[in-house]
Symmetry: D2
Subunit: 338 residues, 4 copies
Amino acid sequence: MNPPLDVAVIGCGRIGRIHAENLVTRIAGARLVAVADIIEDCARQVAAQYRVPTATGDYHELLADKTIHAVVICSSTDTHSRIIQEAAAAGKHIFCEKPIDYDLARIHAALSAVEKAGVKLQIGFNRRFDPSFARVRELVSGGAIGQPHIIRITSRDPEPPSLEYIKVSGGMFLDMTIHDFDMVRFLSGSEAEEIYAIGDSLIDRSIRDAGDVDTAIVTMRLKSGALATIDNSFKAVYGYDQRIEVFGSKGSASAANQTPDNHMLMDAAGVHRAKPLYFFLERYTEAYVREMRGFVDAVLKNEPPPVTGEAGLQAVVMGLAATLSLKEGRPVKLAEIS
Amino acid sequence: MNPPLDVAVIGCGRIGRIHAENLVTRIAGARLVAVADIIEDCARQVAAQYRVPTATGDYHELLADKTIHAVVICSSTDTHSRIIQEAAAAGKHIFCEKPIDYDLARIHAALSAVEKAGVKLQIGFNRRFDPSFARVRELVSGGAIGQPHIIRITSRDPEPPSLEYIKVSGGMFLDMTIHDFDMVRFLSGSEAEEIYAIGDSLIDRSIRDAGDVDTAIVTMRLKSGALATIDNSFKAVYGYDQRIEVFGSKGSASAANQTPDNHMLMDAAGVHRAKPLYFFLERYTEAYVREMRGFVDAVLKNEPPPVTGEAGLQAVVMGLAATLSLKEGRPVKLAEIS
Amino acid sequence: MNPPLDVAVIGCGRIGRIHAENLVTRIAGARLVAVADIIEDCARQVAAQYRVPTATGDYHELLADKTIHAVVICSSTDTHSRIIQEAAAAGKHIFCEKPIDYDLARIHAALSAVEKAGVKLQIGFNRRFDPSFARVRELVSGGAIGQPHIIRITSRDPEPPSLEYIKVSGGMFLDMTIHDFDMVRFLSGSEAEEIYAIGDSLIDRSIRDAGDVDTAIVTMRLKSGALATIDNSFKAVYGYDQRIEVFGSKGSASAANQTPDNHMLMDAAGVHRAKPLYFFLERYTEAYVREMRGFVDAVLKNEPPPVTGEAGLQAVVMGLAATLSLKEGRPVKLAEIS
Amino acid sequence: MNPPLDVAVIGCGRIGRIHAENLVTRIAGARLVAVADIIEDCARQVAAQYRVPTATGDYHELLADKTIHAVVICSSTDTHSRIIQEAAAAGKHIFCEKPIDYDLARIHAALSAVEKAGVKLQIGFNRRFDPSFARVRELVSGGAIGQPHIIRITSRDPEPPSLEYIKVSGGMFLDMTIHDFDMVRFLSGSEAEEIYAIGDSLIDRSIRDAGDVDTAIVTMRLKSGALATIDNSFKAVYGYDQRIEVFGSKGSASAANQTPDNHMLMDAAGVHRAKPLYFFLERYTEAYVREMRGFVDAVLKNEPPPVTGEAGLQAVVMGLAATLSLKEGRPVKLAEIS
């Protein structure tokens, strides 16, 4: 057995805490040795809760610490590309939450730094690690459905983000649909060729005023020839709606929603079951554990990480293409985005 | 109780026989009194099987027969608009298989003739009468899901038509997707505003050579603001795949496939169930009965038929828009089609 | 193709009408030529509705008619064994509703008469022809689940029969559970060895006062070694609950309830689907057609009928054993019943 | 917030390790401070893995340690009642795996000691904490199905225990069905009145030679009037089969199996899904966490534990009644067992 991987978490918000807890309780091969947050008290609080030896308000201290092997970047999006570059320069392996950035030049700079340093970089596309989605991918890549022809994704949140968030989020396609774009690549094993998007604000007109949409359908042609459709909404009142399907020459593989329990009530009014799990924290609990295990294993075994920097880049390119398509009301080739 | 409605069937191919059998065995208020087919032997055979008094090779005889109240037009598509006009002029109520025609001028001529004659015209969009689809429509129109935001339709045939048929069919969007276009109108209660289509021949390249596609995704904006997506394939190896969903501000109503039985086998390899019913004859058996019952009732009670000529027109307009969109690689407004 | 089988229906109550309608509309090989009912008006009414040439108040006339090949006995239970004997003596093939009788001596007399006359006798255990149940039987007999170990049946009516009916019905086990007893034999391919029954009137105490139970569980050992359990209720408020399972050395085959449609509604309160079909007329529509087709085919092809007189006998023996078990509070061997 | 509860685990076998891991990683209010095992190396290994300060081969040391508030007894069954008494005398709160003992006198002695010491005792009926089963219980106790009439439990293991284990297990009813007996009490809220059991060894005749059965059906009358049926098998080749249903005057509440994922594959052969989770470790992962949380909370808040010693006693009484019923081939009243 390897000695454990000593890991630091940078950014102690909601997602940072999830990774911290998983590293402490569920990832056998790793040890959480330090946490940083720009609000030092947050870092201290997380450190206290999980008995982490080091807490700091300045993540540079952690990068300077030679005993730390890897960092998990959970800070705000605008800091990702910079910290990736600094961490790479410091020789740390890197797990970074999505997106790397919204600016392609900055993404390329980050990826170059990683390549030059020869460190590993994994992007936090957690959904790939959902047991159902992973099983569908496995069936597709194992040939169970033959050649993929149609990829169909439904991805709906239970409630919109705050207007404040919407104003700085980069828009639905870069903030929310980005996960679905990655899923299309993951499921199909192909790059997108051309994207077309329609959308509107049907839930709340103030979302339109904030410059975004809350309901959208994106379709695309892939280089493999397959076609894909994604439908998104900010507000499914029945909970987080996350369904995928890959249809091909020999069949169809799909994944249904996950529920908190498997009960069924039959009464005079009908047959009733549990709603889908509420949101990503509930639905992807296991996926968060598995992605971190995948990262830690990749570092310990010196293997390529399961979600590469290229995946992080391509999903942003797709998001930019969809954003442009919506703006100009026409299909946009990915080659147009640079 | 009314005296029965005396009905004649024109065209004794596959679909004509279904309507003939249903009129004889399942439609209490109607009496099948005559059948016609350009191949007189076909008409005679059907008449013999269902004990129908009159069989002819020339449907004009039936139009001239004053005792016949209504005709069911199941002849080839190119004859529909003409026979509608003749039947209307003869004062017959008309049930006509879809599509009325692929040419808008001929459709308008047929609809004008119907209006002028004051007879009833119902178009054979049988899927509206599928118990599951009808239930979804009922839930939507009853407000169970609030304002519709997204309509999602999967419609896949178990096997492609013959190449000979494909060459004269008008193309996938006018022949196959036309049912889905009607379903979007039926489910949403709204007209389409703009349509975008992508498609390719992924199943069989000779379909491309014949000028058609076998796999497609169509998206559209509706006048109500709702968005819709349809995915089509000519070949789902597991059977006829017919699923719909309407997602709205208060929830989602959907309909799953129908299977020949409800068995479940659990063994060491997995959990197995029956495939969807094979094709439209199996899946829409009940829908064919209900649509004819709807027509007969509308005539007997002098009420508007449940599927109007306008529905027949609009679905063709949508099919033409999708065909143009695919050809030109851009979204097409319905207002462009005239 | 054979000339059609000329059939008469004796008894024009609810079930007689179903068979009459099916014979007229859905059974290609048969012709309904006569109907009888002790209330002659009923017979006339059915004859008028289905254009049947002959109607009579005295079924003996039909037995005397040499042109009639087969009779369908749907009269009251107390007349079954006598009419079977008379029909057999008249050389008619016989379809008889269950049960043959509640008295074993009379059943034996009926079966002897059938055997002596060399006519065919089929008992109306319609559930064997339900597509889902038939599929489970097929899986079991085809070896898909290996050796059967446990048979599990849930069989619940949506509402109790009238108290008047309960008083003369022979009791729950002979009237209702008899179908489940036949199902145990059908699914397992084995005879019962010993039966134990518990029951009570939990729905309505006046059922107890009428000498019956409304809720029961019956368990049994089969000669094959397999074990079986049946649970019954007179009142499932959500509709007719008819589920079976056969569990064996290589897996489990089961059948779920059937619903009027496949819709699903997801809203803020939960996920909702259609209730099971209301009662036997709705659930077993197709099974009634298939059992009659099976009878007509067996006669036309001179093959053994799919449900024999022996099946009719054994189900009654099982019902008597369960009745005795409940009365005496002990397991009863079938060998005790004679 | 309370200071954490300091807990010791006695017995470091499979189930002891589960509780140890859960106490360390998932139970916020508790601290695992010591582990004991008769094989001291086992204790040391577990202590090392979970960084537990104290490990010993002699649990008496832990009972003597005043800083330890509660013990979790996971040693072999024959030691349970003795350790309960010793732990109670030492003033420790007690979580004890099922069963307390197979001997009623020893159970009573243990329960008396607990009562006298005024400590809390919770029995490890983990299934009560399964989210689906707990939801069904909640629906039943909340009145959603009215008065319970029928309780139906299917409980099948994926593979038989070893013959060595079978010889000392106390028999299927005391070792395996005991969980189902507790489930009947939990779901119905009623005690059993009379039990009848049938069983055989259909899987492996050497199980019969070892004095046990591998397949069984148990039925019972409850004091409330409700009826119950349980079917058990040692070998479901498709995995752990754990389903329950409570049927009542206003409806039915049930829980289906749990699968590792929600994928569906449709191909030319059929529609396929994942098998149930393999065995109790996979199926009841979450239930083990919740039961321990329930225990820790009960102690910290000084409330009655969610599964009492009485529950432990009654399930054994039911197991003894079923065992006697099988042996004597007759229904056995619980009042006979003492």
